[in-house]
Point group: C2
C-alpha cells in the first residue's frame, strides 16, 4: 500500500449510521402502525432505545478497517454499520433480561419500560410484570437480531458482500451466545474458578471488535493473512475493552455511563475485577463480599466493596491487565501491513477506547 488511505471521521460515521437507522425504524414503525397501536409502541420503545445509545463504535471500527484496506464505497458500508448496531442492541436487550437490568443508556430499556406499563395499566404484581415485560423485550430483541441480517437486503450492497457480512454476524452471535452461557453459569459457580477473560473474549471481543474490523477488512479485499493478524489485534483489544467495562461497572459515574455502578455486584457477576479482589482481600472481607453480592445492595454496602477493591490492589491489577492486553493488541496491529499513519490512527483510537468514561 503506497499512499495511506484517509481515515473516516468518527462523528460523521455516527451521524450517517444514525440516519440509516432512523430510516430503517421509520419504515418498521409505519408497518407496525398498520398492524396496531400496541405493536407500534413496541417498535417505538425499541427505536428510542436504539437511538439512545449513540457511540456507534462498531460501525466506526468497520469503516476504519474498510478504509485502512483501501475500501472506498462508504455509502454501502454505512448499512453494514447499521446492521452491526442492530445486532448490538438486540444482544443488549436479551442480555439485560438475563441480568434483570431495567435501565440502559440512562433510560428504561424494553423490559424496564414495560414493567412500568404492566404495573400501571394492569396493576400486575412485580413478578408477573417482569415476566410479561421480559417476554416483550425478548421479542424486541428477536426483531433486531434478525433485522441485522435483513437490513442489508435493501442496502445496495452486492449480494456476495451481503453474504460476507451475514457470515460475520452469525459467527459473532455464535460466540456471544457461548459467552452469555458461560456468564450465566458463572453466577452459580465458585467465583474463583470462572475464566472471566474467556467470557470477555467470547461475549464482547468477537462481536464488538473482531466482527466489525474483519467485516470492514474483508469487504475492502484484505487478504486472509492480513485478516488473521487484524483479528489478533481485535481480540486482544476486545478483552481490554471488556476489562475497562468491568471497572466502569463498579467505578463509573452513572450520570455518564447511563447505568448503575452497582449492577455488576448486585447480579454477582464474575468479573476479573471481582476475582482479583477475592484473591487479594482478607478472609473476613472475602466472606463479607461473597455474602453481600448477588442481591440488592445499599449505596453504602456498594461503596464499602469498592473501597476493598481499591485498597487490596484489585483495581490496579485489573488496570495492569488492561495494559497487557493493550500491548498484545498493538503487537497484532504492528504485524499487519497497514501504512504507518493508519497504524498511528488505530493506536490513537485504542487509547481513547481504553480511557473512556462510558
Amino acid at each position: 500500500m503506497a499512499t495511506p488511505p484517509s481515515l473516516p471521521d468518527r462523528q460523521a460515521v455516527r451521524l450517517r449510521v444514525n440516519q440509516y437507522l432512523e430510516a430503517f425504524f421509520r419504515e418498521q414503525l409505519a408497518q407496525a402502525a398498520s398492524i396496531g397501536p400496541a405493536y407500534y409502541e413496541l417498535w417505538g420503545v425499541t427505536h428510542t432505545l436504539t437511538m439512545a445509545g449513540g457511540k456507534r463504535l462498531r460501525p466506526y471500527l468497520c469503516l476504519l478497517a474498510y478504509h485502512a484496506y483501501g475500501g472506498t464505497d462508504d455509502r454501502t458500508l454505512v448499512a453494514v454499520g447499521a446492521a452491526l448496531e442492530l445486532l448490538h442492541v438486540g444482544l443488549l436487550i436479551h442480555d439485560d433480561i438475563i441480568d434483570h437490568d431495567t435501565m440502559r443508556y440512562g433510560i428504561d430499556n424494553v423490559s424496564g419500560y414495560y414493567q412500568k406499563y404492566y404495573r400501571r395499566e394492569h396493576n400486575l404484581a412485580a413478578n408477573a410484570a417482569r415476566h410479561y415485560s421480559d417476554s416483550l423485550a425478548m421479542l424486541a430483541g428477536d426483531l433486531l437480531l434478525t433485522s441485522a441480517h435483513t437490513i442489508l437486503l435493501d442496502s445496495g450492497l452486492a449480494p456476495a458482500q451481503i453474504m460476507v457480512v451475514q457470515r460475520h454476524l452469525q459467527r459473532a452471535l455464535f460466540s456471544v451466545v457461548a459467552g452469555e452461557q458461560f456468564d450465566t453459569d458463572s453466577v452459580l459457580r465458585e467465583k474463583t474458578t470462572v475464566d472471566s477473560l474467556r467470557i470477555a473474549e467470547l461475549k464482547t471481543a468477537t462481536y464488538s471488535m473482531v466482527a466489525p474490523l474483519l467485516c470492514g477488512a474483508e469487504l475492502a479485499g484484505a487478504s486472509v493473512a492480513e485478516r488473521t493478524k487484524l483479528s489478533l489485534f481485535a481480540a486482544n483489544l476486545g478483552i481490554a475493552y471488556q476489562l475497562c467495562d468491568d471497572l466502569l461497572g463498579s467505578f463509573g459515574d452513572p450520570s455518564i455511563t447511563g447505568k448503575t455502578n452497582q449492577g455488576d455486584l448486585e447480579e454477582g457477576k464474575v468479573t476479573y475485577l471481582l476475582q482479583a479482589t477475592l484473591r487479594r482481600c482478607t478472609v473476613s472481607q472475602r466472606t463479607g463480599i461473597l455474602k453481600a453480592i448477588g442481591k440488592p445492595l445499599t449505596a453504602h454496602q456498594a461503596e464499602k466493596i469498592r473501597t476493598v477493591m481499591r485498597r487490596c490492589g484489585a483495581v490496579a491489577e485489573t488496570e495492569a491487565l488492561i495494559d497487557d492486553y493493550h500491548q498484545k493488541a498493538l503487537i497484532g496491529l504492528a504485524s499487519t501491513h497497514l501504512p504507518a499513519t493508519t497504524k498511528q490512527a488505530f493506536r490513537a483510537l485504542v487509547v481513547s477506547l481504553l480511557q473512556r468514561q462510558r
Copy 2:
C-alpha cells in the same frame, strides 16, 4: 401451464429436510465442542428438540408451491425448507418461554431440560431455575432464528434467491412478533374483547402457511398476481389450522400431540374456543371457568371445562368456523391458475391438515 407438474412426496421431503438439518447441527455441534462442553450441551438440547418435531409441514408447503408453479431444482429447495424449520423451532422455543411451557414434541423443551439441570446440579429454587433455564432457552432461540437466515448461505442457492427467502422469513417474523404481543396482552384483557382470529392470522398463518407457500411460488417464478391469490388461500388455511390447534390444545390426546391438553386453559390463553364457550355457557359456568383458568388445574377441573365447552356448543361452533375458513381457502385456491390436478392435491392436503390428530 399445459402439463401438471408432479407434486413432491411428503415423506421424501421430510427425510431430506431432516438430513439437511442433521448436517447443519453436526457442523454447529463440532464448533460448539471446540468452545466447551456446556455450549456443546446447549446445542445438543436444541438439536434434539429440533429433530423431535418431525412433521416438516412448512418445508413441504414450500416445495409443494414450488413444484406447482413449475420449479424443478429440489436440491436447493430443501435448504429453504430447513431454514423455515429453524425459524419455526426458534419461534416455538421463545413462545414456550412466554407460556411457561416446559414440554414440546413429548420431550423436555430447552427450558424444561435446563430447569431440571439447574435444580439437580445447582439445587436452585424453582424461580431461579426457571430464570436461568429461560435465559438459555432464549439464547437457543436466538441461534435458530438467526441461523434460519444463514443456513441459506452455503445452500448453493443463487444469492438473489437467498435474498428472496430472507425477505419472506423477516416478513413472517415481523408478523409473528405482533401476534405474540397480542397474545401475551390478551391474557390480561377481558377475554371476550380479544380478537383471537387476528392473533391466529398474525401468529400462525403468516409464518406457517403464507411464508412457505409464497416462498416456494416466488422461487419458482410465479407472478405477483398468482402469489396474491395464493396468499389468500394460505392466510385462510392458516387461521383454520390454528383453530384446529386450539381444539387439539384442549381435546387432543397428549400421547399423540406430545403436549398437555390443559396447557391453554392453565395459561388462560384466549382462544376462539374459549371465547365461544364464555359467550354460550350459563352465568355460573362462566364465573367458574374464569375463576379456574390462568392457573394450574386438576385433571378433574380441566375435564369439567371440556364438558361445558362441548355441551354449550362452543366446540361445534369452532368446527363450523374451521369449515368457513376452509371454504375461503378453497375459493382462494380456485382463483389461481394452477392446473386442476395440482388444485386437487392442495385440497387433499388441506383436508389432512384440518383433520389431524397432532
